[in-house]
Symmetry: C2
Subunit: 417 residues, 2 copies
């Protein structure tokens, strides 16, 4: 049986840090906008670096602007236990998504340092760059893993992105040097709000993530033929919006009928040069699909693209397909999941195994090191929204479970289990 440490995080200090951070990029409606590498994001980074230094920890940054506070071990050839999340947000997002993970990681390091516990591993609380994808989603964790989409990045190096890189003091040419040697890493841990309502509904404080969904997103361009709406006969119409609308409706019906736990979203659509009295000749739309099983995701993608073609044919249109981004599904490390379960059991905390239908840096990290995520409840499952909210006691509970998990892994490793 596992022995838990009597150590607890300093919840007052955590709360002050949370409140300070939430003011950076605060919006008038109670939300936060800290787009990656924006002035607000840089301010948040400066604040984080100062806080790390005040705590007596070492500041570390790398070539894709990942920024960490490190508690160094004195053990020779110590590996690093990474713990983190991200400080960037979407436009008009919330105070919790990402921020909770970084601040709790830092608080755990401070608590351990203050307690004077010597560990045989380095602890690193990391803020990953651009998790939300203002430029490229999971940019920072991709950099560490060595999975940067360089072609896409160079295509993006337009004015705005270039300006952001200059602002942050990094260069595209240096990105590949951010890659870390997997042998130097012990594991990766991330605390995050659930962004779903299952924990709240079942009154459970801790979710233990088993899988992170894989996702894929596409841009479809439907092309038909323009014409005067009043004088073009129906049989002669090639209306691009009819095809696109049929795709939107059918994609949802199709997926719900044939797949369990699959997700499809048509989130963007525009009639290009539309006018009320012109038959739409050109529609651009974006959709994405998600599934936890890589082979099912592949099936989903090909089903949806076939449906896109069928909708084009039905209206005598052409459709061109561009794949924008693809993230493989990820499996969280079973040994760490077991450690967290044991910690919950011994702490009299209920927990639920969960699937994450959102993407996270842990998805990337799991490709090079054992990775795990701990979820805490968030109100009504709302996230990416100013109304995003988590009860403070749940944040504290999550932080303490994270602290125990760090100590268990750092002291006992993963292999003997």
């Amino acid at each position: 049986m596992m022995t838990l440490s009597p150590l607890r995080i300093n919840q007052e200090r955590l709360r002050q840090n949370f409140q300070s951070l939430a003011q950076i990029g605060a919006t008038t409606n109670g939300g936060v906008t800290r787009l990656a590498l924006s002035m607000d994001d840089l301010e948040a980074r400066a604040w984080f670096a100062n806080t790390v230094e005040e705590a007596g920890l070492m500041v570390r940054d790398d070539e894709v602007a990942n920024l960490s506070g490190v508690l160094l071990s004195r053990t020779p050839h110590a590996k690093t236990l990474l713990i983190g999340s991200h400080l960037d947000t979407v436009v008009n997002g919330g105070k919790y998504d990402g921020a909770v993970g970084v601040l709790c990681a830092l608080e755990c390091l401070r608590t351990i340092k203050e307690a004077g516990i010597a560990l045989p591993v380095h602890l690193e609380a990391v803020n990953f760059t651009d998790e939300e994808g203002t430029w490229i989603s999971l940019l920072g964790s991709r950099g560490i893993v060595g999975k940067l989409p360089l072609k896409q990045l160079y295509m993006k190096s337009n004015g705005a992105f270039q300006a952001a890189l200059v602002r942050a003091g990094i260069e595209l040419e240096g990105f590949i040097r951010a890659k870390r040697d997997p042998n130097t890493l012990l594991a990766y841990l991330e605390l995050h709000i659930e962004q779903g309502a299952r924990l709240e509904r079942e009154h459970v404080p801790i979710g233990i993530v088993q899988n992170i969904v894989g996702r894929s997103n596409f841009v479809l361009t439907y092309r038909g033929k323009s014409g005067h709406s009043g004088t073009t006969e129906y049989q002669d119409r090639r209306d691009a919006l009819q095809g696109a609308a049929q795709f939107v409706i059918g994609a949802h019906q199709h997926i719900r009928q044939r797949y369990e736990n699959a997700i499809v979203n048509c989130g963007q659509l525009e009639v290009v040069n539309g006018a009320y009295n012109l038959i739409p000749s050109h529609v651009i739309m974006g959709f994405e699909c998600r599934h936890t099983d890589p082979s099912v995701l592949q099936q989903l993608e090909s089903d949806l693209l076939q449906w896109a073609e069928a909708c084009a044919e039905a209206h005598r249109l052409t459709v061109s397909v561009q794949q924008n981004e693809r993230m493989e599904a990820a499996v969280m490390d079973a040994r760490i999941q077991q450690i967290v379960m044991d910690i919950c059991d011994q702490s009299d905390l209920r927990f639920l195994p969960l699937v994450s239908y959102a993407g996270h840096d842990a998805q990337m990290l799991s490709q090079i090191t054992p990775s795990a995520m701990i979820f805490i409840p968030c109100q009504a499952g709302i996230s990416h929204n100013p109304q995003e909210f988590a009860k403070w006691e749940d944040v504290v509970t999550g932080a303490n479970v994270l602290l125990q998990t760090i100590l268990q892994i750092a002291l006992h490793g993963l292999d003997e289990r």
Copy 2:
């Protein structure tokens, strides 16, 4: 039995004028862009005024910038026979739509003047302002009829519209003075390309318009709830694009099943602030419907708005409806139709009675004076497009039928028939 005049228009002069005009606002792909009150439109007006003066006719303009060439009668208290169309085009439109009607009207006046025929009525070849609706469709003919949507016009008086008015030397305050006394008008005639393929398909050179379609256009705003596409469960989604897409598909199906000769077009749609991984919360779309029977048009409108509501309910959305423009259907004068038929019969020209599914200035004029339209074939029914084309012999035939119609009405009036 009617006696036709041996007079014929000067087709070489007409052709030269057609070619000169087509160069003003010519696009590189063979089309024309002469947006109402743009620099190119003003250049076309200046060219038209010069041509009118060279022809020894009187230039006339009014407070909404309608521009005419007038062949004055010496008869006291003569009424005016208006003949015209418009010189403005849509973006990237064709050389024929509107231009043919104005140039043929002018050519008829020159032919009659040169022949020294004294008529008991004034003849006025008119170019109506903004038929195509760059600012307000049928602006010029609305002004003459006294049906200006003044509230809408004042709402539009933003920078761009104000600048256009200043450029054209007119003022919103003066618009209402453009109204003409119906007692001064004898009739209105308009020659136009068909913008449909029926004449071409049946190898018939002349179409005689019986009705002009009524039309109505709306903006629908669907509102649901934004949310993370990966973490929001299906039963909790309120996806505005699902509602809008259902409207687009169903509106077409519904109309084709229940109505004959009704037209619906969904020509504009946009997901506001869309992102591939956000559930669309806000969709703005435009649609229009057309029918020749005013009571059916009303039924159509209410059916479609009911359908818009049903689509909102099905996806737990709200929908707000804004009516943008409404044009009543118009009936062309039966006596003038009969005159044109007689002219065709005696000239061994086949003709077809037609419905116009596009709007025209004749629609407005018919509210205050007997009005009629003569259509000529256009290739494949294509219009509002650089590929718009009419055979020159068909233009000439149309111009000569117009000439005979003018002479018949001017010499014999309408009432004795």
